[in-house]
């Protein structure tokens, strides 16, 4: 469904991502793990069109979308939950969800999506009329995911959904990811919480200073001694 070929992204003169290859097949959960500053967010922002790549191709459903504007990419069903949640804090929870469904046409369909999102996140239903900024960190992450689900994503990009959350919420977030996977949503998951990410993923890539240094089935990556030493606290 998604192929990334030789992707290079630079900020000014410094290359943050150096010719990486990556692919995500329909129904898979692919994870990208790596330390602070490895370039994970840069990759996701580029996939979504927020940054123009210096070189390389991003092929979504057979079409090169590198350099396409973000709203067009979202409309093609590749939807991102950005790092730090980026919910609209000054708007209500309900308004955030409406914005998430921006690409969806038709009030009936939007309503159906909203019911399904609220079914998945009952805590959001209780807080529909509250300002999103008043939610706890975990609730904000649920809202960020729920907002993305409003767009009926075919490919969901998640940037460190567990960042800064209490352990209980982290468990909940990964349970949700497993649920989404069971529902057949294709996911590209960026995480620093490598053990949880490797557990839920089918395929894993390890990113180090802008390069993919190891790729393969998640179980095999999780067993790699270097990965155990560097990311799994072994």
């Amino acid at each position: 469904m998604l192929q990334v070929i030789g992707l290079t992204v630079a900020y000014g003169r410094t290359e943050a991502v150096r010719g990486i290859d990556l692919s995500v097949a329909q129904g898979q959960v692919v994870t990208l793990i790596g330390a602070n500053g490895a370039g994970k967010t840069t990759i996701l922002r580029t996939l979504s069109g927020l940054i123009r790549p210096r070189a390389g191709r991003i092929v979504l459903d057979g079409q090169d979308i590198a350099g396409m504007r973000p709203h067009r990419i979202a409309a093609r069903g590749m939807v991102q939950v950005p790092e730090g949640r980026q919910i609209f804090a000054s708007l209500t929870v309900a308004e955030n969800l409406v914005l998430g469904g921006w690409t969806q046409r038709g009030a009936a369909e939007t309503q159906r999506r909203r019911d399904s999102v609220l079914g998945r996140f009952p805590r959001l239903r209780e807080r529909l009329t509250q300002n999103a900024g008043a939610l706890s960190g975990g609730e904000q992450q649920m809202l960020a995911i729920g907002r993305a689900l409003m767009a009926t994503p075919r490919l969901l990009l998640l940037d460190e959904p567990s960042m800064g959350l209490a352990p209980l919420f982290i468990e909940e977030i990964f349970a949700i990811i497993a649920e989404l996977k069971a529902d057949g949503v294709t996911i590209l998951l960026v995480e620093q919480n490598a053990s949880a990410a490797l557990e839920v993923a089918d395929i894993a890539h390890v990113l180090e200073v802008g390069r993919v240094t190891l790729s393969g089935p998640a179980a095999r990556v999780a067993a790699d001694p270097a990965v155990v030493a560097a990311y799994l606290g072994g």
Partner: protein, 292 residues
Amino acid sequence: MLAQQLANGVLLGATYALFALGFTLMFGVLRVINLVYGFYFTAGAFFSLWLAQAGWPLIAALPAAAVGAGVVAVALDWLLLTRLRRAHADELASLMVTLGAVLALYAAATAWLGPDIRRLPPDLVGGGAVDAIGVRVTFAQLLILAACGALVGLLVLLVRGTTLGLAIRAMAEKPDAAALMGIDTARLAALVSFISGSLAGAGGVLIGLNFNAIHPYMGEQMMLRGFVVVIVGGLGDIFGALLAGLLLGVVEVLTAGYLASGLKEAVGFAILVLVLWTRPAGLFGRADARRA
């Protein structure tokens, strides 16, 4: 006497508020300090002058001039600010670019149109007036008040009451996140430019009508007041701009009436300095002043 002064002040202030609203909307949503904004005011005034001279009635000339100014705004903003926005340049960069541009624009407009003060055709608005409780209000003033009220109402309705307004508020808060939702932020930015420019243009028409004086630099004089209103009201705050606009109008008229006419600008700026000293987030200071 006082009642009459207050009425005149409110009428003048309504136009200030209208003008400042567009400026504060542009800042609140696009996060640029756009000094070219005053030029849209001049443009609106001249468009209405030309249309009126061509025989258009005011009821048609006012909206047409506003739309014309909006189109000018979209074109100039696109030319001057798109690149800055894309580079996520800070507010100072937009300030400098638009300062240079607006000085050039005023100079070019003056070279082309001449510095003289133009008058609207005398029969544009009936010369009548209404008297009530000892206050005399001309038809022109009533029309100004009605137009300001209608435009402000429409703007508030758009921003607060429609999904388009919701997208505008989302973009004001987090442009990247809004783009990830599938919102075409470039197009929305152009729409905001258009709305702002139209408000400035309508303000130009109405002030031209109020004082019956139109000249190329009128936008610059207005821009100074726009700054006072927008900062006193809190940058990016629509309701703050409304109140501060009315306040400035009243203060100016009272100063001219009871102190000295030459002091009215000084008083406006004295208020500005006082507010910045005591309440940097604006008179109605909410901590986050960026509310579209």
